[in-house]
């Protein structure tokens, strides 16, 4: 059967649509709660997909991803606390709008802009992904090794203040990925005679520990803190004239978001900064930005949701995650025996089309749920921590156990929660560690295979044209943080120039 028809048949059925909707609702709910990020939403809720088929699981996770990125704007507008880092700029104009009694309108603009941003990025994903994947089919071991190193160069962008600490985290991640049977020689490595380690560490409990439990442990110091939402939510659906006024800003911001999303490591936060800056610079009333102007909400929201389609491009075509969320998504694909990359286009094209369709539908659901459920999500934000935290901890435990019905995985999750919490306090970022865990096996196996192929000649890693191309862009990626810093500094200068 034609893969497009097959994908439509897979996705357009009541059960799958319901799962996608549930994913979107779950993502929005978690993303809207300050302190609980979209990354955490994907990490914890991955456990809900174990009993599902691959397509069901992918749909749920796409829903969570899209919903989680959007959900951050709700708390940003109502509380002036961005639910996720990518909603920082949304708070600048969203909260002043809420204070003026326009909370409903701000949520409506944020939802519609997020929807349009997401849809525009899906169009680019559909057009761009097949071209990249055809190119990627020419890869062999040296190219894959160079590609893995290129993927790891994202560390430069997700390392926070210290590149050294980012590299340390990545090295620890690669080391963790080496636990278990060596794929080339079959030797058991770092198993310490523990039966449960012979097949390596289970990815999901590890992620839940690093991103779920460690975040909760950070919050446990302030468990008494809880904020009440008292904003009145009305007139959520934006008028046609307002949408017409915002259309240019939304399209420009969506293009910025898609482009930045496709750059590994750049992500929603920088996209929303760049789009906000662009909207302000091109506005006829730049002085109104920061005082509650609809363009100030539409620009960052269109951009951060547009990064989803952009970020799916390197994930699907090269199997390289652009950030922590897509790294967890790759892990989830693998749990369901799907390896993102060019071979997925060749062997399972229907899955690729299903991802396109699922992302578009997730955006549509996000629009409906966001507009219809604004009042409900506003109440969810006010759920006290002394109820919310125990429920999340329960999900962490049950989710870890459910991976393979093994109590050992609960221990792994708790251990990595402690490790994540400790490393966070030592200013070691978590995202590079996840990249190391995901890309470690790819880098190691292909490095060793390439060296075996070339009988130990290291030059094979650099001299083949495609490999050389990746080494060049790796160097460019390592230089990218300096450019990014300048870009952000310039954006902030413009924003604070008031």
């Amino acid at each position: 059967m034609d893969p497009v028809l097959s994908a439509i048949q897979m996705v357009i059925n009541p059960e799958i649509l319901l799962l996608l909707l549930a994913g979107v609702v779950g993502g929005i709910a978690i993303g809207s709660i300050p302190g609980l990020t979209a990354t955490m939403a994907v990490a914890i809720l991955t456990s809900f997909t174990f009993g599902m088929s691959a397509i069901e699981a992918i749909m749920v996770l796409l829903g969570i991803y899209v919903g989680g990125v959007y959900g951050g704007s709700i708390a940003a507008i109502l509380l002036h606390i961005p639910g996720t880092p990518s909603a920082i700029m949304t708070a600048r104009d969203g909260y002043p709008m809420a204070k003026q009694g326009l909370a409903g309108q701000a949520i409506g603009i944020s939802t519609t802009a997020s929807f349009l941003g997401g849809m525009i990025s899906v169009v680019f994903l559909v057009l761009g992904a097949p071209i990249i994947s055809r190119f990627a089919l020419k890869f062999s071991a040296p190219e894959y090794f160079a590609l893995a190193i290129f993927g790891l160069s994202i560390i430069a962008n997700v390392s926070g203040k210290s590149l050294l600490k980012g590299l340390i985290a990545a090295a620890l991640g690669i080391l963790l990925s080496a636990i278990g049977m060596d794929p080339i020689t079959g030797i058991q490595r770092f198993t310490f005679n523990e039966m449960n380690l012979q097949t390596g560490l289970n990815f999901v409990p590890l992620m839940i520990g690093l991103f779920g439990l460690s975040e909760i442990l950070q919050q446990l110091r302030n468990v008494e803190n809880h904020v009440e939402v008292r904003q009145e939510i009305k007139n959520v659906v934006p008028s046609f004239s307002l949408l017409k006024r915002l259309s240019k800003v939304i399209v420009r911001s969506s293009l910025i978001g898609t482009f930045i999303g496709a750059l590994p490591g750049a992500g929603g936060t920088i996209a929303s900064f760049a789009a906000y800056n662009d909207a302000k610079q091109t506005s006829q009333h730049p002085e109104k930005f920061g005082e509650g102007i609809p363009e100030g909400v539409a620009a960052p929201e269109a951009a951060n949701n547009a990064t989803v389609g952009g970020a799916l491009m390197p994930l699907l075509t090269l199997g390289v995650p652009g950030d922590a969320i897509t790294a967890i998504l790759i892990g989830a694909f693998m749990i369901h025996s799907l390896q993102p990359g060019p071979m997925l286009f060749k062997n399972n094209p229907e899955i690729i089309y299903a991802v396109y369709l699922g992302t578009a539908l997730a955006n549509i659901f996000m629009l409906i749920v966001g507009l219809a459920g604004a009042r409900l999500f506003a109440r969810a934000i006010s759920l006290p921590n002394n109820i919310l935290i125990p429920l999340i901890l329960l999900l962490c435990i049950v989710g870890s156990y459910a991976v393979s019905n093994n109590y050992f995985d609960i221990g792994v999750m708790i251990l990595f929660g402690i490790i994540g919490y400790s490393l966070d306090n030592l200013d070691v970022p978590m995202a590079p560690m996840v990249l190391g865990i995901v890309l470690g096996p790819m880098a190691e196996t292909n490095l060793r295979n390439a060296l075996i192929m070339a009988q130990g000649q290291v030059s094979v890693l650099f001299l083949r044209p495609i490999a050389a191309f990746f080494w060049v862009i790796t160097i460019a990626m390592l230089l990218w943080p300096k450019l990014k810093k300048r870009w952000q500094a310039r954006s902030q200068e413009v924003v604070t120039e008031e």
Binding site: I387, L391, V398, Y401, L451
Partner: protein
């Protein structure tokens, strides 16, 4: 203790364990020796050792924040208590079952987090236990250790 020095110490321990373990890997034929199972782990351990050195050197040149762990800090006590309760829940899960274990687990945590309304504590614990039961066991067919349901 200085944050960077503590991190350096951890890295040195990880490197030492890695070198020790890789030394125990069996010898292979000539072709595979260059890229044996310990090749990449040894490279990483070397990198971590060098990084530890840089961190120690840097800690004497640039003053970094100190990390203080005090048992008088209520946050630390709460974290420790939560981790112990989680470990106990995981340990006793096969013995007392998911239903009772979950209600006790949630109830105890809510009490620790100063929720004083008994009606809420019991109601939320039972409702959450049933919700997870329905999602994981009934809908997704993921087995959990049951005793009563």
């Amino acid at each position: 203790m200085n944050k960077d020095r503590l991190l350096a110490l951890i890295l040195l321990i990880v490197s030492a364990v890695t070198f020790y373990e890789t030394a125990k890997f069996p010898e292979l034929s000539n072709d595979l020796q260059v890229v044996d199972a310990g090749f990449v782990p040894k490279l990483l351990a070397l990198f971590l050792t060098i990084s530890a050195g840089i961190l120690i050197y840097r800690s004497y040149r640039i003053s970094t924040e100190k990390i203080v762990i005090s048992l008088k800090d209520s946050g630390i006590i709460r974290i420790g208590l939560v981790l112990i309760i989680m470990a106990l829940y995981g340990y006793f899960l096969p013995l007392i079952g998911y239903e009772l274990g979950t209600v006790i687990f949630l109830g105890v945590l809510m009490i620790i987090f100063r929720l004083n309304n008994w009606f809420k504590i019991v109601g939320i614990s039972v409702a959450a236990m049933l919700a997870i039961y329905y999602i994981f066991i009934v809908s997704l067919k993921v087995p959990l250790p049951l005793k009563f349901l």
